[in-house]
């Protein structure tokens, strides 16, 4: 329909407000196109009965038939409502609360609000005022106040009649003075409420007259929203709603008949209650007080409320959650031989997902090649699309015919090939780098492959993670993805202005070893460089032995200069620069690494200043290539050299062991002194703490220091050549705390920031004397992980381990939700050309982005490097 109207004739209107009304009986009848009178669905021929629930006037669900009401076909006709007249009025469950309020605060005789006229006038004014000032929010509060005032009055101030207490027996029975009020009575009382009183109670009489909350007619939803399914056996299976409506119509008819026949009051009452039950469950089948209506199989019916509500409901499942074609999902695994902006796609997937290509005079032979291969042989095609939009599936039989038919104007949906564009994604998609564009490389086996350097932006690891792949289907989408989402466009973080993608793990330790002190023969060096794809050895000169630094320099461009620091930098007062003992002064002059080792500070993700400089100077395409080569170099070095850690890496000298033991003994001595002081009452309390707390704080201080000190001793004495130290010092993995815990002393176990105090009365475990305050009785572990823990130490460690496990398991979803809410609240904000930050309504949020107008992703770690700008100018 819309396509018939020319764009210039479109009517553009802005929705200013939406008003929700209650359907009046009149309205229900007016919008209905059929009156439903019989619970039967089909006659003997299987044709819908007139006046039945599947009446043809309610819309079409059979292909080929035309709608009796609007004349349109299936999918064009949206369906039409019907109605049934109820034999007796029925309470609408969703309005029970409002009805109760109304009954309580109005007179049972004259239906006026149970407050004197002057009070009503005053409230009227106040409500009007608060609507003007604060909108509906404030007036709602006022109305609540009024309702509270009016209820519980003993006598009506208008007609002086006595009032009784109205109560509710859930879900739909109202009691007055312990006696039931019938819905008829309720309806007459609601009818008598004047329009003025109704609006005082927050009901706009034009949109929601109180008596409309008690149903006298029930709208029957169109068949299009409750289609029946035909099973393979030819049997028809009706929708849950149709079942429920059938019950309603049946009971309603019975009720009519019984009333007309003058049946005893009890029978009528019973039927009436049954009708009330059916209509209530028609609206909501998950009420706590009512047994849910069930299928014969015992499974509860899904009625109106259940369709909308909750995760599986219409809103969260169908409207907010959408599914997509041209996508794939499997387990991921690493492949450092891929480029950083590539993704390895299993051949099985490549043969299922397609890219549409339009046939032209120039590519027809090329595309015929795919069609010839068909769907089974790679690279083939799965579909061809004729110019009139008809899609044809390629099968063994149709290949021949399709080949002949193919001509310019057709579209071939061919298999994925190397170099195609795909969007790669890992949930939760918290930030923009959770979805990046990669180039496809078709590979054997069944996992999606990615370069481990891009794990960080996706927050992926390979313990079973799965990721999604999407194939853009139009030229526009592909270009957009390539220009805006390609991995190389995402190298620097807009959050802190440093590389998000950098070397990790092996790549760091490999480059560290290489640039530290490795020496190669010329042929070894050539070997190494060839294996990472570098063939130009001119930079090596004609030396016979080469240092790792020289090999590393081959990767650097000749005009690159850089000064930085390694992690080993001790920040000495006078920097020795190139002559630094730790080789921590990184100096690159004219593309040669003169001094300094490459480690996480230069290559790593989230730091990597050297990478940032390369990126800035040589552009993003160079930066990804460079990063890929660096990564491969690191991995290759480790492959040639070999890299593993063993128990012997944890060996320490006798001297170091004694020193650590002495440290622990000193600490224990100091703690004992503290305990003595405490027992003698000589300990001085810290401000705001009791004596006992002071003691704990002091002891914690001493013990925590001990592990740190032990760590220092260990790292001073350990063999610098072990692979464990290499990993720690390069920043690839592990910390000196890990090392200290394995070799020196595990240290104090803290539970909620305190030493362990739980357990038995006055002691933690039954192997200690009551009141023992010694370190070992409160979770101090003097053993090492390598040496093994004593039973009580093991127990303490397990306590803390379990606690932190619980803590992370409970905290993760909480912080995740918090982040989601934050991200949603900021989602439409954007920086305009004038530098202001505005939301979707063009309202200003910030007058200058971030107060200083700096685009962090174009800065270095958030700061603008003014010196460079000046240097580049001249």
């Amino acid at each position: 329909m819309t396509e018939d109207i020319a764009p210039e004739n479109y009517v553009y209107k802005q929705v200013r407000s939406i008003q929700f009304n209650i359907l009046s009986p009149k309205m229900i009848k007016k919008m209905a196109s059929a009156k439903i009178v019989t619970p039967e669905l089909y006659d003997k021929e299987g044709y819908p009965v007139d006046g039945g629930l599947m009446d043809v006037r309610l819309g079409v669900i059979d292909p080929g038939l035309k709608c009796k009401t609007c004349g349109s076909k299936l999918k064009e006709c949206v369906g039409h409502f019907g109605y049934i007249s109820l034999a007796r009025p029925i309470i609408h469950v969703n309005f029970v609360k409002t009805i109760l309020d109304l009954l309580r605060c109005t007179c049972r005789e004259c239906s006026r609000i149970l407050l004197p006229q002057d009070a009503l006038d005053r409230y009227n004014e106040e409500i009007q005022f608060s609507v003007r000032e604060t909108g509906s929010e404030g007036s709602r509060k006022k109305i609540k106040e009024l309702v509270k005032k009016a209820r519980g009055q003993g006598k009506c101030p208008h007609c002086k009649s006595g009032q009784y207490k109205v109560n509710i027996e859930k879900p739909t029975t109202f009691l007055e003075n312990e006696k039931r009020i019938s819905p008829i009575e309720i309806r007459t009382r609601l009818e008598k409420i004047t329009d003025e009183d109704a609006s005082l109670l927050g009901l706009n009489p034009e949109a929601a007259r109180p008596e409309w909350m008690v149903l006298t007619v029930l709208p029957i939803p169109p068949v299009t929203m409750r289609p029946s399914i035909t099973l393979e056996t030819g049997e028809r299976s009706e929708d849950d709603l149709t079942h429920k409506l059938g019950d309603i119509v049946r009971i309603n008819q019975r009720l009519f008949e019984n009333i007309n026949a003058g049946a005893p009051e009890i029978i009528i009452e019973d039927l009436w209650d049954l009708l009330q039950y059916h209509i209530t469950t028609f609206f909501d089948n998950s009420l706590a007080q009512l047994p849910p209506a069930r299928h014969r199989s015992g499974e509860p019916l899904k009625t109106l409320t259940e369709r909308i509500k909750s995760k599986e409901g219409r809103i969260r499942h169908n409207l907010t959650g959408k599914r997509t074609n041209f996508s794939a999902r499997t387990v991921i695994s690493p492949d450092p031989m891929l480029k950083i902006n590539e993704v390895g796609v299993p051949s099985v997937i490549a043969e299922k997902l397609t890219v549409p290509e339009r046939v032209t005079g120039w590519n027809i032979e090329y595309l015929k090649g795919f069609v010839k291969n068909g769907p089974k042989k790679y690279p083939g095609a799965n579909y061809i699309i004729r110019p009139d939009g008809k899609k044809k599936k390629l099968t063994e039989e149709t290949i021949e015919q399709s080949l002949e038919e193919l001509q310019p104007g057709y579209i071939v949906e061919r298999h994925l090939m190397d170099g195609d564009i795909a969007i790669f994604n890992r949930q939760p998609s918290l930030h923009r780098v959770s979805m990046m564009c990669h180039r496809i490389v078709v590979l054997p086996y069944k996992t999606l492959r990615l370069n481990p350097a891009v794990c960080h932006p996706y927050n992926a690891d390979f313990d079973g993670d799965e990721m999604n792949l999407h194939i853009p289907q139009t030229e526009e989408a592909r270009t957009e993805a390539e220009m805006l989402m390609m991995v190389q466009t995402q190298l620097t973080s807009p959050r802190y202005g440093l590389s998000i993608i950098g070397c990790t793990q092996d790549a760091i330790s490999g480059n560290y070893l290489l640039t530290k002190d490795m020496i190669f023969s010329r042929s070894e060096a050539g070997d190494l460089l060839t294996s990472i794809g570098v063939m130009d050895f001119s930079k090596l000169g004609n030396k016979e032995t080469l240092t790792g630094k020289e090999i590393f320099s081959v990767l650097l461009p000749d005009d690159f200069n850089f000064v930085g620091r390694s992690r080993a930098c001790r920040k000495c007062e006078t920097c020795l620069k190139e002559k630094c003992k730790n080789d921590a002064y990184v100096l690159i002059r004219k593309g040669r690494l003169i001094s300094g080792v490459m480690d996480k500070a230069n290559l790593g993700e989230g730091q990597g200043l050297m990478l940032r400089n390369l990126h800035k100077k040589y552009g993003e395409d160079f930066a990804v290539d460079m990063l890929g080569r660096l990564f491969k170099l690191g991995v290759e070095v480790l492959m040639k050299r070999g890299f593993t850690i063993s128990i012997s890496d944890l060996d320490i000298t006798e001297e170091a062991r004694l020193e650590v033991e002495q440290l622990i003994a000193d600490a224990e001595g100091r703690v004992n002194e503290l305990i003595d002081e405490y027992r003698k009452g000589e300990l001085e309390a810290l401000p705001g703490r009791s004596l006992r707390e002071t003691l704990e704080v002091r002891i914690m201080e001493v013990l925590n220091r001990t592990r740190g000190d032990a760590g220092k001793v260990i790292s001073k004495h350990t063999d610098k050549a072990t692979n464990l130290t290499v990993m720690i010092q390069s920043g690839a993995r592990g910390s000196s705390i890990n090392q200290a815990q394995m070799t020196g002393c595990v240290g104090q176990q803290a539970l909620r920031g305190k030493r362990i105090e739980k357990g038995y009365s006055k002691r933690t475990l039954s192997c200690f004397i009551k009141g023992n305050l010694n370190p070992e009785a409160h979770g101090f572990i003097r053993s090492t992980f390598k040496g093994g823990l004593k039973p009580h130490e093991f127990f303490f460690q397990s306590m803390v381990g379990r606690d932190s496990l619980m803590d992370t398991a409970l905290r993760t979803p909480k912080s995740g939700y918090l982040y989601r809410r934050l991200a949603n609240s900021l989602q439409d904000l954007k920086v305009e050309y004038d530098g202001t930050v505005r939301d979707a309504g063009r309202r200003i949020i910030q007058f200058k982005y971030g107060e200083d107008g700096v685009d962090v992703s174009k800065s270095e770690g958030g700061a603008v490097n003014v010196e460079r700008i000046i240097a580049n100018k001249s």
Partner: protein, 79 residues
């Protein structure tokens, strides 16, 4: 206890009321109507001494770690 003037506190940035002319200039500069400005309550203690009326525009000059000085505008609204 002596009642102190909170506008003199170091953490309270400087608030001033814009003249009609200046207000028009600001709105023109950003090409917006007053509804698109951030808001400030009429009863906000920081502007209590400026005798604000709904619709007035308040200029706030803040110290900024990164930019030194940052100018902000808010429109006065009643509660």
């Amino acid at each position: 206890m002596k009642k102190s003037d909170i506008t003199q506190h170091v953490l309270v940035p400087n608030h001033t009321k814009l003249s009609e002319q200046k207000k028009a200039d600001v709105l023109k500069k950003y090409n917006i109507s007053v509804y698109q400005l951030p808001q400030i309550l009429k009863s906000d203690p920081a502007i209590a001494r400026l005798n604000p009326k709904p619709g007035d525009v308040i200029k706030i000059v803040r110290k900024s770690q990164t930019a030194g000085k940052h100018v902000f505008y808010r429109v006065v609204v009643s509660a």
